[in-house]
């Protein structure tokens, strides 16, 4: 079949709530030869702007997505094909392409996007994607929530069952934190896994969530199949205390925006929606107390209270360490703390939110690491 040689590039779906995206600009010209991982174009959503990377090879034969125009998820925005595929076939393919209806798009999309679980630590909100393969748990960092994984969760769910939760004190989970230590958070995570019936999972932790994942691997090694530590806390003492205090203290958009900009190498990624969503979270009763309790317990006097690197090095849990080279919150050289026992990848041009800023590269590393460890 000739059609199989024509590869559509469609508006991606990033995260649970994305229904459309705006093409902001193309990074490749029509006629360019494309390899897997090449940066094709930039797309802006109400949450964030990001680069769409090529998942297949070919020549960029047609560019249909107009810069400045909004397209629904899965709309055809470009066509890849080898040079010998006739133009007429490509035109026929474009004319015949219909945007799949999102609602009817498989069973995974049909259910509610978020769930809640009543756990010993209180109500925990979570998302679950995918039905097959190994079980993966995504644990966000300080002040974050499960939407920090919006570029991660669906990519991993292609070949895995992926859970992402809001830790106590975060997102839309309970704002009560009974025990604001790493052990306390680790127990809350294990209680969540008990409630949803997961015995063992590959832990992927970002920042504070990385330290929680390490604590869990040390305290309950049987439940952690592997560790993926992204810009993780717990690998050295240093942390930008100004970021922690600024995040806790900011009550307005004007104050919070510069604080959030320290999370990214490209400050322009901080969108209006991201700032507004975080302000709405921070205004909820109990959040300020929760964040202050965590900060006092984990980052008192501007230093990380728990460094777990040597324990993890001894524990033999298969471990991947990923960092953004331009991380301004936790320095990228902390990645070297596990250089002897873990796979370490430091990604240039990305900051603390490396799983968002270099999503394609991080997802490839995660898939590879989890496949090997499983």
């Amino acid at each position: 079949m000739l059609n199989e040689r024509i590869k559509p590039i469609v508006m991606p779906k990033w995260g649970l709530s994305m229904s459309e995206g705006k093409v902001t600009g193309w990074l490749k010209r029509p006629g360019s030869t494309i390899s897997i991982g090449d940066e094709l174009l930039e797309v802006e959503t109400d949450k964030i702007t990001n680069v769409v990377e090529a998942g297949e090879t070919g020549v960029l034969r047609r560019v249909l997505g107009e810069p400045g125009t909004v397209y629904p998820v899965k709309a055809l925005i470009a066509v890849l094909a080898e040079p010998d595929v006739p133009d007429d076939d490509i035109d026929a393919f474009i004319n015949a392409y219909a945007v799949p209806v999102t609602e009817g798009d498989g069973e995974a999309d049909a259910g509610p996007q978020y769930h809640t679980a009543e756990t010993p630590a209180g109500t925990i909100r979570y998302a679950k994607r995918g039905e097959t393969g190994p079980t993966i748990l995504l644990v966000h960092g300080f002040g974050g929530d499960l939407d920090n994984w919006l570029f991660t969760i669906d990519a991993l769910a292609e070949k895995a069952t992926v859970y992402a939760l809001d830790l106590p004190g975060h997102g839309q989970s309970t704002k009560q934190i009974a025990d604001a230590s790493l052990s306390g958070l680790s127990k809350a995570v294990l209680g969540f896994l008990d409630t949803v019936g997961v015995e063992r999972a590959h832990f992927v932790g970002h920042s504070m969530g990385g330290a929680v994942s390490m604590r869990t691997a040390l305290d309950a090694p049987g439940r952690v199949a592997s560790l993926s530590l992204i810009a993780s806390a717990g690998l050295g003492e240093q942390i930008d205390h100004g970021y922690i205090q600024g995040f806790i203290g900011a009550t307005s958009r004007r104050d919070l925006k510069p604080v959030l900009e320290t999370l990214f190498a490209d400050r322009g990624l901080v969108s209006r929606q991201m700032v507004d969503d975080l302000l709405k979270y921070k205004r909820l009763d109990g959040v300020d107390e929760a964040l202050r309790a965590l900060s006092a317990s984990l980052f008192a006097e501007g230093r990380q209270a728990s460094v777990l690197a040597s324990g993890i090095a001894d524990a033999r849990t298969p471990t991947l360490v990923v960092w953004g080279e331009e991380d301004r919150v936790i320095p990228a050289d902390h990645a070297q703390a596990l250089a002897n026992t873990a796979q370490v990848a430091v990604i240039p041009g990305a900051g603390h939110m490396v799983q968002m800023e270099a999503a394609g590269k991080v997802n490839a590393l995660l898939k590879d690491h989890i496949a090997k460890a499983d």
């Binding site: 839309q172 004007r254 205004r283 909820l284 109990g286």
Partner: protein, 343 residues
């Protein structure tokens, strides 16, 4: 968990949550329960438009139906506040403020000052403002400038359900008297609102839309008209920044001035009468503090200097429209706009 509810429901929820949290919170007003004392008639009304409906069943006698005497029960609420309760008094239509000016302007607003900081007056007076409800001249005014004129009062006017809930919770927790202005034509408007309690701090405007060409400042219902105008203008390539003030006292001067310093053009939209209102206040402040940034004369879009008409066709013309706001923006952009004084 977040879900879509109307501004009316959001206000009800804020009252309910604060009454649960703090036993000193009480609610009083005309028909806010409805039929109290008459068998089988409890909670029949929940206020003239049903905003407080259902609260009596949850909180009983902490809700009080009052006689039809605003002078009496607003005075009682102010006195109760000075003695340790946190009353929320519903004034139904804020147009009725006239008969309790002394209780509000001369007593509640002055206690902290007159008693050397030893007295606090944590009272909230909430009620309906604004035109478009076919309620005629005595029930339709936007009297916000009367309240902002008085030091010692805080003045709030939300434009949506999310803000209404968070600002009312903040108003109840605040230790000073707050006039909480609810535009009656926004009561049915729904948006995503968390079920939990949250407070929005006073004095922080909300920037609803970014733009580099012109700044539009408004509050209440006309925020939505400003957004409509901005959407229409964007089709012609004009990007307007739209600022929703949320609170009028205190007012977020920094956000306004920072925006005008970037855009160089200002349109202020106010549903109040044109003399001595929020629009003139903001225009004067920007003229005095950011004159060097202005590329054109400041434009004001307000209601006319007339009573609110009862004829529906005239009432519709009375409230600033998206078209009139867009026209004002175009005046700031025209070559003549730089010199024009009057529209």
């Amino acid at each position: 968990m977040s879900r879509k509810i109307s501004m009316k429901q959001a206000i009800n929820e804020a009252l309910d949550l604060e009454m649960r949290r703090d036993p000193t919170v009480i609610v009083m007003g005309e028909d806010i329960v409805g039929g109290t004392g008459a068998q089988g008639e409890d909670d029949a009304w929940g206020g003239v438009l049903g905003v407080t409906k259902g609260l009596y069943a949850k909180h009983g006698n902490r809700l009080m139906d009052t006689p039809l005497s605003e002078s009496a029960y607003i005075g009682a609420a102010v006195g109760a506040a000075a003695c340790g309760l946190r009353p929320v008094a519903e004034l139904m239509f804020l147009d009725f403020m006239g008969v309790c000016f002394d209780q509000i302007f001369n007593q509640a607003a002055k206690f902290r000052y007159m008693f050397g900081g030893k007295a606090e007056t944590p009272v909230v007076i909430r009620g309906m403002v604004g035109a478009g409800f076919r309620a005629a001249a005595q029930h339709s005014q936007m009297l916000t400038p009367l309240f902002t004129h008085i030091p010692g009062l805080k003045v709030v006017c939300p434009s949506n359900a999310y803000d209404a809930k968070g600002l009312l919770i903040q108003s109840i927790r605040d230790n000073d008297p707050v006039i909480f202005c609810e535009h009656k034509n926004l009561y049915g408007l729904e948006c995503e609102v968390p079920a939990e309690s949250y407070a929005i701090p006073f004095g922080e405007a909300n920037v609803l839309r970014d733009g580099d060409d012109v700044t539009i400042v408004s509050y209440g219902l006309t925020v939505h008209r400003a957004m409509e105008a901005a959407t229409a203008l964007a089709k012609d390539g004009t990007e307007a920044e739209v600022i929703d003030l949320r609170t009028l006292s205190p007012i977020d001067w920094d956000t306004i001035v920072e925006s005008v310093e970037r855009t160089g053009r200002l349109v202020v939209v106010d549903e109040a009468h044109p003399r001595c209102n929020l629009a003139t206040d903001i225009a004067a402040f920007v003229g005095q503090n950011a004159f060097g940034a202005l590329k054109a004369g400041i434009q004001m879009v307000t209601a006319p200097h007339t009573p609110v008409p009862f004829a529906p066709s005239l009432e519709d013309l009375y409230v600033p429209s998206a078209d009139s706001i867009a026209s004002a923006v175009k005046r700031t952009l025209s070559p003549k706009g730089a010199r024009s004084i009057a529209a």
